[in-house]
Subunit: 231 residues, 2 copies
């Protein structure tokens, strides 16, 4: 396996050379609360440690030429958690988007804005915003719900536009590779239409314990998959 | 771990005792063609070796008290394969439903019947049919398509019925545990609405190499999952 040496976040990292890359990667950054408990912290203290890993994923993907990343920020299901946790994960999501906005990206936030839980700081990103030199598309699911997403096509359309192509997340294309941290092998309601053919790769480590090798292992898994789109 | 000794298919099998069972299991019986190639057979010869494993899954699930199983028969995507393969997997699906119809079950077939590919032998099962003593619900996806399933709610409904609750597969409930043979970790378009929270368990062996232990391992995996329904 050949390596490329790239400067990332001020240091050089050897990145494997892949035979074939996914166009669009989804990230489920699970395990923040378990990570906190394992360290004797309170559950809500995990989330702020999930910001830097997202930026590292961005840095590596931008360097190797991934076209699009979608981050599972939080769902409407998640908002049933205790208030202190909710504040912590909403704050971590806001901070994550703000940090990406200082880099090169085309940012899009998808989620139900008709709710007090949706942070007003992110309203500006509900239409795609180019920051810096643009190039890589970065999507965040913020107060997203699978049911809300699908029902949007029924509720907010005229008769002629009532089609599955008009779901709320219509601007997010098919996901090639979905990577989930925290050991669980499930979608947790993430983008049911875009994940119908996704290859799923699960990393046992918790999201705040992110290492570049996790992402490399997922990309190595993906390059050997037989892509049939259900055929 | 305690074991129950049960008579299954004429012999006694030690079945582990599980702390907690899934209500509804989905089965993706993948790897028939690779199994055939590995044995020096032609690809299409694999499918007929996938019938007995399905009956074994039925037997075990019926004995341990699973309420419902949904088998991924074939999809509209699959029908793009060469004619000789298509005939082989359609025949294997017909035979599988016919074998289950000799047992105790409540059989339902879901798929697009407006197509020559849909086998007319199975039309009778497009409304649920009780056979023998009934009890366990057995669903088969036959000429199923995720897009067809979702679009059904838009196309075949009056205004007031246009809701995601009226998808074509509306009679199939949420899937708790999805088990896929053949090593791939993806849904391949299986029931996007019912799988949003499913725990997925992948078995590397090919479907015709089914062993009861595969199912037991999946059930052991499931009993230790934290079920949050996205919360």
């Amino acid at each position: 396996m050949a390596f490329l040496s790239k400067e990332i976040g001020g240091y050089f990292l050897d990145i494997p050379k892949f035979k074939r890359l996914p166009r669009h990667i989804a990230i489920i950054p699970d395990g923040n609360r378990r990570w906190a408990l394992n360290r004797g912290l309170e559950k809500h203290e995990g989330y702020k440690n999930g910001i830097t890993p997202g930026l590292e994923v961005y840095d590596i993907c931008e360097k190797i030429g991934i076209s699009e990343i979608t981050f599972f920020g939080f769902t409407q299901d998640n908002t049933k958690r205790p208030q202190i946790q909710r504040k912590a994960f909403v704050d971590a999501c806001i901070k994550s988007v703000q940090e990406i906005s200082k880099r090169d990206a085309e940012i899009l936030v998808i989620g139900n804005t008709n709710s007090d839980v949706f942070p007003e700081e992110l309203l500006v990103y509900t239409n795609r915003v180019k920051v810096g030199k643009g190039k890589i598309k970065i999507n965040f699911l913020i107060n997203y719900g699978w049911y809300w997403d699908l029902m949007y096509a029924f509720d907010n359309s005229t008769d002629s536009k009532r089609t599955i192509e008009n779901i709320a997340s219509a601007d997010i294309p098919r996901i090639d590779l979905l990577i989930r941290w925290g050991g669980r092998c499930r979608l947790s309601g993430m983008l049911p239409v875009q994940t119908v053919y996704s290859d799923i790769y699960v990393i046992d480590e918790m999201w705040p314990d992110f290492k570049p090798e996790h992402l490399f292992n997922a990309l190595e898994f993906y390059q050997d998959q037989d892509i049939t789109l259900g055929g």
